[in-house]
């Protein structure tokens, strides 16, 4: 199999790959492997959550009631919708629909920003009510000490998730620029596809976080 530059290879083909298909396979597989590492990353926090919820179920119940279920549910719907728009963006890229790709990417980004906006509202509310772990933390008796652990885990998990959302926004922006420049087509839409995988993953993490944090005691 000859190496070197074949007659007309796609401008996106990197030189160390033999074909666009190999490059696509590698990129897609790579994103899946990366997402596995992310599962383990969040996994440590899930372990801490399980331990402390088992030890202090009453504290968990009392503390969870301070989270706004309506906002949480709204955010869940927003993210699920954004996964839909992301899937539509991938489809558009796959069919060479440049404007459609850009539109759906923009919609995804907007929904992501809405999500983050709601989180800002929620976090400010926590700050006002002295529910941020640290020197200002206050909680009603009798759980005033241990409730801080719940909120530490809440902020760590949702904060880690929000950080991934922000990075996701950056990825969307990068894809948007690429889409507007006409980089994507049926022959090459891998970045959109793997960006989509990342976005769906961040969505799935939230789908676990929502019931575990917001719906404690709601059967």
């Amino acid at each position: 199999m000859p190496n070197g530059h074949a007659a007309a290879h796609h401008e996106a083909l990197q030189h160390h790959f033999d074909s666009l298909q190999q490059q696509k396979d590698a990129s897609t597989f790579g994103m899946w492997v990366f997402l596995v590492t992310e599962v383990l990353f969040f996994g440590g926090l899930f372990m801490a959550y399980i331990l402390y919820r088992t030890w202090y179920p009453d504290v968990w119940l009392a503390a969870s009631h301070h989270l706004d279920v309506t906002l949480g549910a709204f955010n869940t719907a927003v993210l699920i919708l954004s996964s839909l728009t992301m899937a539509l963006a991938v489809h558009a890229a796959q069919t060479g629909n440049k404007n459609g790709t850009a539109l759906f990417l923009v919609l995804t980004m907007v929904l992501g920003v809405v999500f983050l906006g709601v989180k800002v509202v929620e976090y400010s509310d926590k700050f006002t009510h002295h529910l941020v772990p640290g020197p200002t933390f206050q909680f009603d008796a009798p759980y005033q000490r241990t409730a801080q652990i719940f909120f530490s885990i809440y902020f760590a998990m949702t904060g880690m998730h929000a950080l991934h959302m922000v990075i996701g926004e950056g990825i969307m922006l990068y894809l948007l620029v690429g889409a507007l420049k006409g980089r994507f087509s049926a022959a090459y839409y891998t970045p959109v596809e793997i960006g989509g995988l990342y976005w769906h993953f961040v969505d799935i993490i939230w789908i676990f976080l929502f019931p575990l944090l917001y719906l404690v005691g709601h059967h």
Binding site: D58, V59, R145
Partner: protein, 335 residues
Amino acid sequence: MFNIPLFPDSASTFAGRVDALYFFIVAVTSFFAILVVALVAFFAVRYKRRRADEVGAPVHGALALELTWTAVPLVLAMVMFYWGASVYFAMAKPPANAMEIYTVGKRWMWKFQHVTGQREINQLHVPIGQPVKLVIGSEDVIHSVYIPAFRVKMDAVPGRTTTLWFQATKAGRYRLFCTEYCGQKHSGMIGEVVVMAPGEFQQWLAGGPATGSMSEMGQKLFTDLACVTCHRDDTTGRGPSLAGVFGSQVTLQGGRTVTADEQYLRESIVNPQARIVEGYQPLMPTFQGLVSEEQLMQLIAYVKSLGTKGQAPGQTAAPAAEGAQAPGAADTVTK
């Protein structure tokens, strides 16, 4: 001539068992080490390259050989596992008649309290031939109690109570080390265990200080800290009665049950909201920071003296079952 020690003293009933396992593993590992080294050396010489163009002869993997040298180590490993586990389980189950000594590690010293009241710092007197159980806590960071001559070790974890037990077999003085890194003077957090013949030990105990026994000190705290206001003997108190509670099964809110061991008692004092007894309100304030680790142990000793497993003292305690659940249950506190 040189008197360089190469092996530790053996001064407890565990030493022999641990050493036997050790020598077994030494024997097995030496056998395989010598076998492999001898084979490697022999092959290295026997099959040294003789001509520049020589290559190795193709030898095809024999499945039988592979399976054999997978199975044999596996079997030997399982023997070591089983033997190690049985020694460990013996270490994990103190006998019912073990004499309790409360131990607190604090940067950078060890404090021991005998139930009769003697307190020792960095030194521990114990008799020969009597099982001794250390009930261990920490004031600050994780430490670890280690007595090499007895082959025993257990971490002292803040927020928890751990135990280790031994039965000394030989009079003498044996080193005790802290063996979990705890900061600046970790290497200096050492002590000695003084093992005495039973008669001498009784004399040593009798010559103890005038302060009261652990449970007397605990009773004093119980009154001073106003525990008695809520934890009354009858059922009218805002808190449950503590008579006979130690070692019993306690039903919690939500229907779960828990064994009222040292750990549960300790938690109930410092984090009372964690596991509340069924039928009671979460009213008890926390005493975290208001009592030291030693005082916690005195309170626990006092509660133990109020009877165990549902029996008030004076009633005949149920004979301790072999391998009793709650460590230290049905112990007798001598006054």
